[in-house]
Amino acid sequence: MKKNSKLIWTPDRSKFPEQNSDGSLDVDLASQKYVKVWQGPNHPGVTGNMSLELTICGDEIVQAKTHVGYLHRGFEKLIERRKFIQGFTTCIRMCVAEPDTNEYNFSRCVEELSGIEVPEMANWLRALALEMARLQMLLRIVPGQGNTTGLGLGVQWGVYLRDLILDRFEELTGGRVYHMYITPGGVRGLLPDGFKQRMEDALKKIDEFIVDITKLMYNNAVFKKRTVGVGYLDPAWIDKFGVVGPNARAAGFKRDVRKDYPYLIYDKLDYEPFTATDSDIYTRSLVRREDLRTTVELIRQIMAKMPKTGNIRAQTPNVLHWKIPKGETYVRCESSRGEYGYYMVTDGSEFPRRVNLRGPSYVHAVSLLEKLLVGANIADVSSMMVSLGTCPPEIER
């Protein structure tokens, strides 16, 4: 994208305190130059609750600190008290907006540790469910970026289209939000009759949506003014912080688990992840729009290439007393926010010893956000959060 230097917003830092040699700041609140405000815990466009403790000077942010603790439900611990077949009904709650990635990772961990091969049909259906999950999440997050700058219309379109995908989820999996479709051993159902046609109808609407949202949001003077050049993420920080997914791709890094470490049937699909280099809010949003396009294309490919029917579940040990030998594994997949990983340790009993979720938001919304917000304008905080793909439920499990 061509950069317009006049649009690049540079904060006036003359009133900011000098940084100490270790990079810390001594903010003297008694000087009355600074005020501490809390932002959150509710944020427009972000699923879940999280607070920011902001020290501001005028309406510019001098210091930012992320505060979590509004959501902690102890799901990782709860899974330790659930049998392997029960765990997938709990782990999905760790990311409400995109539960299928949790189901997949959890199930894959269990399968890897007990040495179970999943039938091919189940793998195709899993890939379909994962792409549908990415699709419905992107349908929130792409127009959601506009919402943070006051553009509510796109969200209404997105919610309608997301509902169409949830309808498809409902007929495929039996659930709209928590699908509980991918179980250890396989999946829970084949495609219903006429599913492909109804899916295609929905995808066509999403194609139209991409055109419309481009006109409404990406070619919008206000939106551009609020996002171009704002929230610049230095490519040097990508590896330092472990930034993944669209945020890394917007900074020129071609990071995509589906390409780098193909799982399921992704090696049989033909696509190229979209990358850009400007690394600001606008570019990250642009990358997500392209992700949306890719996902639509991938769903079409999956439905065209998948076998007509087949076994959907491997023969597992009796699920009521499924024991897994001692071991540990790390499994990852590409969520709408980037690499999403599960680490599982088993000790030979009927329960996992430890399940740990490594979600991208932990990096993006806790450590990275605190850095990016320094010097930003208070009005840009929510844009910044959404553009990093913040999902507080996966920060506090």
Partner: protein, 598 residues
Amino acid sequence: MSLKDILTPFTAWGNIVKEPITIKDPINNRPGAPRYRGFHKNDITKCIGCGSCEEICPNNAIDLLPVEGIETKDGDSGLRPRIDYGRCCWCGLCVDVCTTGSLTLSNEYKWIEEGNADAYRFTPGVDKKPWDKNELGWNKPVPNYEFYALDRVEMQELEPNKRDNSFIEIVQGFSKEQAQLEADRCVECGICVAACPAHMGIPAYIKAIRDDDLEHGLNILYDTNPLPEICGRICTHKCESVCSLGHRGEPLSIRWLKRYIADQNPSEEYKKILETENIEKNGKKVAIIGAGPSGLSAAYYLALLGYEVKIFELYPEAGGMMRYGIPEYRLPYDQIDKDIDYILSLGVEIQYNTRVGGDVSLDELKEKYDAVFAGTGLHLGRSTRIPGSDHKNVYQSIELLSKITKGEEINLTEKIVVIGGGNVAMDITRSLARLQKQKFGKVQIITTSLETEDILPADVEEVVEAREENAVINPGWGPKSVEIIDGKIKGLNVVRCLSVFDEEHRFSPKFDEDDKKFFEGDMIVESIGQGMDISYIAEDIKSSIEFGPRGRIVVDKYFQSSAKWLFVGGDIIQGPDVIHGIANGHKAALGIDKYLHH
């Protein structure tokens, strides 16, 4: 930024002329998808209350509770799942694991009920709900989607051509891998425990197999059954007939798993494993009549309690009907010995070749011992009493089977007709077929019964195997007369049997006299049930004992007769089968202990 960027967003105004997409009345106009996981339904006539749903529920939302109008019976716990919608997450695992397929989810997701705060906790199928008749919703998705294997691990058996001329054991037993795979199928519902007359801890010993702790498994077996090698082979397995897995698949091979535990533990280790090396004697003496299953079981548990036990046995070897009634190819004698030797090693004495009522009288036992247990069994054959059945070549299956065990000569002929459709009839058919094969090189035996194929009392595998061994099983005929010409048997005249029982399920066979058939044979074997012989009870004792219908002795729940010192159990009270005998013996042992100590 350009003028274009200012103008393009206004293209969104184009939507103003489009049709609205909102569903105006979603509550009424939007049913759930056909596969939607909505509210629970339960077909309570199909449900057996196995509790797998309760077990798998990740949220403890399901409790199994007694329900009015549903009785506890064999194969049905009488409980039904109650679901707490304050906890349920509608994952549908309860549906996926359901052993009978009775539990489903409807696709209904709206439920408005006023005035009852507890309504969200309900028993599907019992508490009537508006969605009960909804046909759509979450069912078991597709074939091959199972949470446990529905098919049995195949048991290795001798091929028909390798077994049909010898008495070698047919069933080979499980290997460790096979046993663990089969044990893995168990859902631990415990429906079997209730159905087993001895109430064996079946899920517990199957778990011991999964954990590969066979010593613990043996302990569980001996808690309720001191004849595991025997029961592991020839038990009538009432547990398997009620196994919850049998509703959609094949029931668990509980019998073979029991055998696996017993087979794998060496007999010389039994005392150590079962911790019976030092039993303190209590100085009291009990006499037992008959070393059959009930007698041996009573002897074992009495010995454990410290009683001095002496068994009086008519035959030269112990085991009763297990040895003298069941052919060796089903139950090898060395396996009988393994179980019995262990019981004897606890200090139980057996006096063989002794007829109570002849060599020693019941009165004497009463005098010399503190209590007496009689488990004398059913050793008298029953005759059809058709014309010609008094011929010398018309035999009783019981007497022939015992002759085969004893190794006595049988007057075997080339063509045999067996009358009877139970397991004993199959035993004698298959034994005689083997002897025919040995003697004449071919099998010519016809077995006929009143019952038609579908209601044949014999186990299906017995019938199948008998046919594999070239015996002809021709059920559904009633014997009319034995055809005798010049003093020699020529065969059996039969007529078509239309029904065996009347409406009240009483034995009252009806025949079609016009549909006749003749089964050729020069020897007839009757195998239509057995009778008891309690002539050893002298008249004066008899007068102090209460008798019920058909001459059965009336006993209380501890098998104590109205003569307080005399306990009676086994086939003459309940049965005929081994496991009832074992259960009776165990209960009687406890009864004797109670009687002598209180």
